[in-house]
Subunit: 348 residues, 2 copies
DNA sequence: GTGAAAGCGCTAACAA
DNA sequence: TTGTTAGCGCTTTCAC
């Protein structure tokens, strides 16, 4: 079955005009008489003519759309980021194409391949947890594809980046736990190779140091698949619960790890925060209505997306090659709720 | 700034070959000698040649990608649907392009415009709550664009559709509430013009009838923006709470309405289920860890997406125009948790 | 005011 | 085995 839409050629033939006349009439060129314009426009309208964007892009050399690669769209953090991207892109006349890597390196490469090479004018990407080589992106950048990283960035590629202050976010969160009196604070995080992981880990460790608490490596658990694999998290939680000195608090570093850990603690009848307090990085809108309401480090997701897009479009629209790059660091916000604070009362 | 990637013409020039020889060598044609193939391939590799998909699509008349329009990707129902779509599409060598209508008719039209006319080979769409005219889709279909509806469908367009048994889902849910002893059952639903709304409303009413309970129109609240506008839901909830005979149970018909209602009841210090029981259509993975754990009507989202894509690809790949269309109806599943059942204990 | 023609990058029928 | 050529749908320069 074929898509037999009407083309500019069809209109020209039917109206006994040349192709170029039709093209100009359609774009309301001053060269064309009103009468002709009217005829063309009416015919086009009637037959529901729509320009073929592929042909237009091929001709013009740009597609007015930008590609997005995130790990999972059902992660509220990413969907909020995407909303920010859409907002900025639309306001500048661009469309966005969203793809998911599902934390898989292979899928990431496949998506990038699909998106690239003039099918998009630029790329916004947060690396998958599996990704430790960015050769596929380096090549593209060398070819002139504007790329902006957000969230999970690579230090191997020089370009604009938008991240949050992960160190400080984790530091503040850990400090809060210490201030609440917790002394055995575990940390469940993602793949060790991801930028975000190491920054948050450093913040966690620094806070422990500053709080005079010795770092216990048994309390630090990695989930290489960033929470996509529930077994990983389950194993991490169970190992923590099996320790002879069980942790009295857990700081989870990733959205999905946070909610999964909550569910797993539930299943194991662990009282939160009485037995173990829980504090996690997450942007879920449901933090208030979870059981218990969840203390969370939240990221300015919409602004991350908006800013990253603004920077990408500035590269795309730049007359000359851009060589000076900037890394924007936005602050996180700590919300205290009952999963860490026994005295917390909702509804101020 | 421009994307100056290497083209087949560049390779031909450098290697003193014709364009077509290069093209054939690249596609490993039997016509080309191994030596030439090797030279071309090596040069291409070295200079990181990548075919321009726009040119390919323009030439071949298809893009091997399908467009998706949903209201919001951060709705777990839709993200699960999309996962099903990706799964089926990838397995057949297609890519997907995801867009959000944010429940806005205008955005829906804009997205469809962006996607259509050979930029995609087919369209998978769930209508926005605002949409009550489908002329934009009718036109496209007339031009030969294969379209498959899922979730929120239009009766005005004949094509394949994938939905769930909304009537039965709502009927069973309402019956469950009746069986639990609730007699004043309210229903907060979405826009009255959406297919899903009326089907679920009918199921609700039928169950009340069968349960010998008189239908009270004051107990039925519409949120035309499908939960995108929190004020709508807030007003609905407050109106219900202000009634002289307050409802003792609420059936919410949409994902976001369900979670928002839960949050609003929290804020108003309403005890669930003691004061008011809550049961909602939702696919959130967090139902178990909400406070209280949430009774829910869940949809087979992944399968909806998979099936819809399978049907779309069958139209796309059909040799002759397809005129016989099918509507697939999948079952919903009712999960009982503590928001309706006072005796519910997690962890079987 | 209108049209002819070149070309964006690629494929494929046909020629050599 | 390789090359020539036409053409996908559109824009744009240059003639007429």
């Amino acid at each position: 079955m074929n898509f037999d839409a009407i083309t500019i050629t069809d209109i020209a033939r039917e109206l006994h005009l040349s192709i170029s006349t039709v093209s100009k009439a359609l774009r309301d060129s001053y060269e064309i008489s009103e009468t002709t314009k009217k005829r063309v426009l009416e015919y086009a309208q009637e037959h529901n003519y729509r320009p073929n964007p592929m042909a237009q892009s091929l001709k013009k050399g740009h597609s007015k759309s930008i590609g997005i690669v995130v790990s999972n769209i059902d992660n509220q953090f990413f969907s909020q980021v995407i909303n920010g991207m859409e907002s900025e892109a639309y306001s500048q006349g661009y469309n966005v194409i969203i793809t998911q890597s599902h934390e898989s390196y292979d899928l990431e490469v496949q998506n990038v391949n699909h998106l690239t090479h003039r099918a998009i004018d630029g790329l916004l990407i947060s690396l998958s947890t599996e990704t430790n080589s960015v050769e596929h992106l380096k090549k593209l950048q060398k070819q002139g594809l504007p790329i902006v990283f957000f969230d999970r960035v690579s230090s191997e590629i020089e370009t604009h980046k938008v991240i949050v202050d992960n160190f400080k976010g984790a530091y503040q969160a850990t400090m809060h736990l210490i201030n609440c009196g917790y002394r055995h604070i575990a940390h469940i995080t993602s793949s060790a190779i991801t930028s975000v992981t190491s920054e948050r880990l450093s913040g966690y460790k620094q806070a422990l140091n500053d709080g005079g608490i010795k770092i216990n490596e048994q309390y630090i658990k990695y989930c290489p698949h960033g929470g996509m694999d529930l077994n990983e998290i389950e194993q991490a939680v169970d190992e923590l619960l099996a320790l002879k000195t069980k942790p009295d608090a857990i700081l989870t570093a990733w959205d999905r790890i946070t909610t999964s850990t909550l569910a797993l603690l539930h299943k194991r009848k662990v009282q939160i925060p009485q037995d173990i307090a829980l504090l996690g990085f997450t942007n879920t809108l449901l933090a208030d209505v979870l059981n218990p309401s969840l203390s969370a480090v939240q990221q300015p997701a919409f602004e991350i997306g908006r800013k990253a897009t603004e920077m990408l479009l500035s590269i795309i629209n730049s007359k000359r090659p851009v060589t000076e790059f900037e890394t924007v660091v936005l602050p996180t916000e700590l919300f205290i709720r009952s999963s860490t604070d026994k005295t917390y009362k909702p509804d101020q």
